[in-house]
């Protein structure tokens, strides 16, 4: 059996992410109340609820439509920065998925790159700016490297998860240059960015879902 993931796998990955992010609502809000307005937990819960709803309503037609449903659903939450950015991520991934029925590791890297590009069309934040990008960019990079090295999908996702976690952790040392935290300046140093944290949870969940598939 070729090493690919189907729409059903993606559904399972997303369901794991929904649960993990829900569990972490208090953490995410607490982080946001230090450097922002205290609502990132609520925003992420709305986002994953929208994703869950889209999964339920998916017409099973294509991976593209699955990802589009999730992205549009997230785009349609009232979630401050979260809705547009997460919505863009999945809508970009949907576009990247094209007509594929399943994805091998290289295709997966392309899908994530398309998602990242769409996010970047909304945000100019780079690694080091203390945003979700500090988790997302290295994670996508890790999948690309793994694909180029012909690694398995689950290894690719494991390395994405660890890159995202490291990236999120590293935001503690950074000064925020985007979002509400920007105005806090130096005082953001020492605090982990909430958006980077939720993004790293996404990859953690994806990786866990994939290793669960194997066992």
């Amino acid at each position: 059996m070729a090493d690919t993931i189907s729409a059903d796998n993606v559904t399972a990955m997303l369901q794991t992410a929904v649960a993990l992010i829900r569990d972490n609502e208090p953490l995410l809000s607490r982080l946001d109340s230090v450097t922002g307005d205290g609502d990132h937990g609520a925003a992420m819960v709305s986002a994953v609820a929208a994703a869950e709803k889209a999964l339920g309503e998916w017409d099973k037609s294509s991976l593209k439509s699955l990802l589009h449903g999730v992205g549009w659903g997230m785009m349609c939450i009232d979630g401050g920065s979260t809705g547009p950015l997460w919505g863009s991520l999945f809508m970009g991934m949907s576009k990247g998925a094209g007509e594929a029925e399943s994805l091998d590791c290289a295709a997966l890297a392309e899908v994530f790159e398309a998602g990242l590009a769409k996010v970047q069309s909304q945000s100019k934040a780079q690694v080091g700016d203390k945003t979700m990008m500090d988790a997302l960019i290295p994670a996508v990079g890790a999948i690309r490297s793994a694909a180029d090295a012909s690694a398995s999908i689950s290894d690719a996702m494991a390395s994405a998860a660890s890159a995202a976690a490291q990236g999120a952790q590293a935001t503690a040392g950074m000064q925020a240059r985007f979002g509400r935290a920007r105005n806090l300046g130096e005082r953001t140093i020492g605090h982990v960015d909430p958006g980077a944290t939720s993004m790293s949870l996404l990859f953690k969940a994806f990786s866990e879902a994939l290793s669960a598939r194997e066992t």
Binding site: D37, G80, S81, F178
Partner: protein, 333 residues
Amino acid sequence: MAMKKFINDPANLTVELLDGLCTAFSDKLSLVSEKLVCRATPKDSDKVAIVTLGGSGHEPALQAFVGEGLIDISVVGDIFAAPNGPKVFEALKMMNREAGVLFVVLNHAGDVLSANIAMEMAAEAGLNVKMILTHEDIAPGADAPAEDKRGLVGCVPLYKIAGAAAEAGKSLDEVFAIAERFNNNMATLAVAMKIATNPQNGGEIGKIADDEMEIGMGQHGEAGTGPCKIMSADDTAKAMVERLIPAIGAVKGDKVLLAINGSGATTHMEMFLIYRAARKVLADAGIETACSMVGEYLTVQEMGGFQMFLAKMDDELIELFGAPCDSPYWTVK
């Protein structure tokens, strides 16, 4: 510990508050689809429409200024969260007209992201919309790049002025030019003494020591330019207005609009003291306070503090500011 607020299910706050607002003021407001607050009596379609957006939790806030001579439709998000882009697009489409739509956006990450998405969709649909971004917070410095400067209470007098210009039958280009002139000559500084509680989860936003205050706060009390010991009303007003005056380049002989916007727990009593002290500093500098606003426009829960706003005014702006309007929380006869 229970939150010290009169609420029901925190998930329903926005829907319930809009229902309350729109039934209390049903002669002025109408709630179309979940979170779009429109005028009960729509503006003539040959006049420019004013559209805006923002998160809830800042009541009376934007939707309370929907009405004749002010906003035509306010797209309301959830607590502290911008409404989503597709919803904002829906509002733009609803208001689309030959005369055009002025779309007023406050510079906050989420608002801008949603507004950009809505504008992309509007462009695709061929709507006649011009967007204007308010960013008058001078906490990061009057010369800081526009992206750094948050949109605070300045949107409210801007609605008033743009709304009056629209009501007077001016073209979209004219309304835009007037609003932009006002926008480029305004500045706000916020100060806080007591923090706000997020009404959805009870979390306290930020931290202020018992004997301290902080100037340069954001709309939610996100920390500003650093804490200092509590100062008197006179000293606080002086410190703030002395930063606002050069920020708008006001000099002797100029006329200004001075606004004090209470954050929630700060009393009108205190606001009058602050207003008085700031006006005195202006007068001493030979600057005339031609227009005034003192009240709660954009609050943030029960935060103690206020925003001080200053704008340079010319005769046309003064006239538009004083023109009649009729909304739940701002009526001029």
